[in-house]
Symmetry: C2
Subunit: 235 residues, 2 copies
Amino acid sequence: MSPAMSSLSPQVVQRTPTEEEPPKAAPAFDAAFRARLYDLLRWRRDVRRFKRDALPEGMLDRLIGLACLAPSVGLSEPWRFVLVEAAGRRAAIRANFEACNKDALAMQEPDRAALYARLKLAGLDEAPVQIAVFADRDTTQGSGLGRLTMPETIDYSVVMAIHTLWLAARVEGLGLGWVSILDPATITEIVDVPKHWIFVGYLCVGHPQAEDDTPALERAGWERRHASEGVVIRR
Amino acid sequence: MSPAMSSLSPQVVQRTPTEEEPPKAAPAFDAAFRARLYDLLRWRRDVRRFKRDALPEGMLDRLIGLACLAPSVGLSEPWRFVLVEAAGRRAAIRANFEACNKDALAMQEPDRAALYARLKLAGLDEAPVQIAVFADRDTTQGSGLGRLTMPETIDYSVVMAIHTLWLAARVEGLGLGWVSILDPATITEIVDVPKHWIFVGYLCVGHPQAEDDTPALERAGWERRHASEGVVIRR
C-alpha cells in the first residue's frame, strides 16, 4: 500500500479496547449522506465492458482493505483474494468460461438463446484486475463460533466482503463484474490454491466503459426488476 | 409504505429504458462522501442488544426496498423476507436457538466455553423486528442465467440483499444482528414457507443499546481482526 493511501486505509490493526472502555463517539449519518448512499445502491452495476486502463497506484490494496471490514461469522474473516495476473492462468479461466457458457446456452429456450448469446457476460478480455475469491471453511479463526449448524455462513461472509468491495469500487468510479459461469473445481486448480477452499466468485475490476442506473440485463430485455412488495411475507 | 416515505423509496418500478436510450447523468461521489462511507463500514456492527422501541412508521418497508437494489444473479431477485411477528413463532425460534446454542457450547474447548456462554448471541428477546430471510432457488425470474454451474449464487444474491439492508439500517441509526445458530429445516417449518426455499439467515433489527467501532467479539476477547495483507495471494 502506498504511503499516501495509508491514512485512508480502514484495515489498520489497532489495540483492542477492553470491554469496560467506552467506544468513541459514533458518527451521525445525515439526510444528504443517505440520499447519496441510495444513489450508490442505484448506480452500482454488474459491469461487463471495461476500459483497459490500470487502476491508480495503491487502489486495489485499499479496496481489499475496505472489503475486510465486512461482517464475518464469529469474526472468522474467511475471505481469500487471489489476484490473477499470469496470462496463462487468465487464458485458462477464459477457456473455462467459454466451455461453461456454451453449456448454459444449450439450456436456454431457442428464442432466448439468441438473446443470451448476444449478452456480453464477461469482462475477462478487458478488465485490468481479476480476482478469484475463495472462502476458507477450515479456518480456525473465530473458533467455529456461529457456524456449527450453518457452515455455509463462512461462504456468506465472503459474499459480503465481495459486496463491500463492489460498493467501494463504485464510489471510486470503478466497476466490478461478477463472473459465475465457471466450474469451481477447475478454477481452484487453475489458480493453485488449497482444494478445500470454496470458490465463491471471479471478479473483473476496472474503469467502466459506461455508467447506468438500469441493469444491463434489463436494458437488453432479458429480465426486469420487480416491486419489493412481492417478496415480503408476514407470519 | 406510507406516502411520506414513497418519494424516498428506491424500488419504484419504472419503464425500462431501451438499449439505445442514453442513461441519466451518473452521480459523482466526492472525498467527503467516501470518508463517510468508510465510517459506515467501520461502525456497522452485528448488534445483539436492542432497545425495545418500535421502528418508525414505514421504515421497514423502506429498508426492504433498499435491500432489493442488491445485485442478483441473472436479475433473479430471489430474496424472500418473512417478517416474523406471531409470539408463538418467535418463541419456537428462540427455543431452536437455545437447543442449537447448547450443542455449540459443548463443541468448544472448556476454557472457551465459559466465554462463549457469556456472549449474548441473540437479540431474540429484545429486537422489535425479526426477519427470516430465504432464497428461492426455483424462481424462474432471470431464466436461470448465470447459475447453471453455481446454483449457490442464488443464495449469494440473498446474502447481498441482507448486507444492503444492514448498511441501510445503520445509516438510520438502527442495528441489525444476524443469528446463525439455528437449524434451517426447523426454521422453515416454524415460519411455514415452501420447503425448497433455502434458509439464509435470521435477522434481528431495532435501535441498538450502544454503538461501537469495535466488534463485540473483539471486545469480549473472543477473536480480533487481522490485517488484510494476510488474505491476498498473487498468481
